[in-house]
Symmetry: C2
Subunit: 168 residues, 2 copies
Amino acid sequence: MKARTVDRRVQRTQQLLRSALMALIQEKGFESLSVQDIIDRANIGRATFYAHFDSKEDLLASGIEGLRASLKERQRQALAEGGRDDASVLAFSHELFAHAHEHRAVFRAMVGKRSGAVVQQLLQKMLVDLVRDEVKQMMTSSDATAMPLEAMAQYIGGGLIGLLIWWG
Amino acid sequence: MKARTVDRRVQRTQQLLRSALMALIQEKGFESLSVQDIIDRANIGRATFYAHFDSKEDLLASGIEGLRASLKERQRQALAEGGRDDASVLAFSHELFAHAHEHRAVFRAMVGKRSGAVVQQLLQKMLVDLVRDEVKQMMTSSDATAMPLEAMAQYIGGGLIGLLIWWG
DNA sequence: TCGTTTCCGAACATAATGTTCAAGTTCTTC
DNA sequence: GAAGAACTTGAACATTATGTTCGGAAACGA
């Protein structure tokens, strides 16, 4: 927490860019999309774009950050309640699927056949991080298995993202 | 099976392009690589490249096809032997990991941090197809579960690719 | 109101894309 | 080994995106 107040212009600019990105993703997918398209749609100067983001990937990541924070919070709650019943294992995944369903128009366009490579990678990294944290906490509390924590996180994270994309 | 003999020039051209691609991937990754780089390295005319492939992704896919055929054959063998012991379940995965290890220099460059999004997607699709075929055969032979075949294939395929990339 | 931050927009150099075509060459096959 | 088919070449071309620069204008916070 460093900047208490963010300049209103900065907020507007970034919000316009994110909105434009989402709209354009639905229209033509992510890969076949240029920075030029985004700034045209957002009606933002070229120089301004590069003052805020390095690339369209960077802009996309900033958009996904909101989702990540939300899932992380959900996970924190479930783990805090201490329950180890089925409902609290990977509790964030419920919200994840719900979120994908709610925004399924843009979600499908994002990870759809042609365009989704970069998006998928971003999402997968996010999920693996979440799973790792969770598995770590579950294991230290009692279990001891031969399987490396990281391998488990990678496998489960990869499986989740595969499932999500197929299902979405 | 249609063309028994492929023109020697075609073979040479495609081989040169594939070799150039592999070499360049190791040097600068896949994404930050242009068709221009490839044809310069391969010393092949620009028009010739586009006569064979639509894009660098297309060229890459043609390279991966060899691996796919090999894994498929391995799977066919294991299933034909009819055994349902541990060693024959997902038998192709052993070869998959071996292959990744053998060519780990190029493999790492392919799926490494920055560059691997497109490659990952291609590999994952290939794996899911393999897993689906196998699960289908295993299920019809006796089991009946509530879980949809496709969901299983997607989950396992995604998990495998996650594991592979982390491990490789 | 005043000083600071941000935005603009236009210009610029560089580079890649994908297509076309006539001319040359290498293959295959008979 | 000759004829004809198939392939490769190089150059040109129009189009488009990239990322950076700058001074001046505008919006902001306090």
